[in-house]
Amino acid sequence: MTHSSFLQDELKITEIPDGDQVTFKLSGALSVTTVPYFRQTIQPFIDRKQQLIVLDFEGVTKIVSRGVGAAIDMAVQAKKQGGKLRLENVGKYGRSLYIQGVHLVADVPELEGFEP
């Protein structure tokens, strides 16, 4: 595998703090390339035992299983720290997230009662 500067996946993360809750608006690809940045950005909030971490998927253009796996890791860690991870606006990615079992570890309101 090689890299190309103009083909490289990009992910922009906007942080919106609101008391015990912090929302991260994701814009771009949650892919192999961007997962490290995704982890680095969210991890400090898990470490500081943030009560509720919300990932807003509205601007997500691509996901891969490794990216979903990172979100699962975050949800498990947050739970162990007494916090919670919620995924919002998952839209067309709902089925893929369900298949990977994200709803088992995180709040995903759109997947409540979801039938694949």
């Binding site: 390339t33 067309k92 893929s96 570890v105």
Partner: protein
């Protein structure tokens, strides 16, 4: 399209992110064939996973070939790479109980996702490469003759 089948082949170098181009083309094809947006997204997601793996595990400059066979009621997509191959039977199914304890690092999710999103999956893999063959049917799979 009638009964005439269509073959489409796109070769891409193993460059990260380039898979978006053939995937966009196949999404358009699936939509034109009459796949619902949900089913077209299943194809896109399975193909994304297969292409990313093919690109990631290609340890030379050989192209990854994406070959599509479309008929009036089915879409079959092959992703062919010339990487070192793997043993599909050695990939464990995801353990959701373990996942809830240790997180997504438990592994096995990519192949599981592909299996869950397509109607038929075949994998041929050896030391000179891998072919992932994914089929999706326009009709419910139970009504498709063997």
């Amino acid at each position: 399209m009638g009964d005439k089948s269509l073959k489409l082949q796109i070769s891409i170098p193993p460059v990260e992110g380039i898979e978006d181009i053939p995937i966009a083309a196949i999404e358009v094809l699936a939509s034109k064939m009459g796949f619902s947006p949900d089913l077209a997204q299943d194809i896109v997601q399975a193909l994304t996973e297969a292409c990313v793996n093919a690109i990631m595990y290609t340890n030379n400059d050989a192209d990854v070939d994406i070959v599509v066979y479309a008929t009036h009621d089915s879409l079959m997509v092959e992703v062919r790479d010339k990487g070192k191959g793997f043993d599909p039977t050695s990939v464990p199914s995801p353990d959701f109980d373990l996942m809830q304890e240790v997180g997504g690092g438990a592994g096995g999710f990519g192949l599981h996702m592909i299996k869950s999103l397509v109607d038929k999956l075949e994998i041929d893999s050896g030391p000179t490469g891998t072919v992932i063959r994914m089929s999706k049917y326009l009709k419910p799979v139970s009504s498709v003759p063997n």
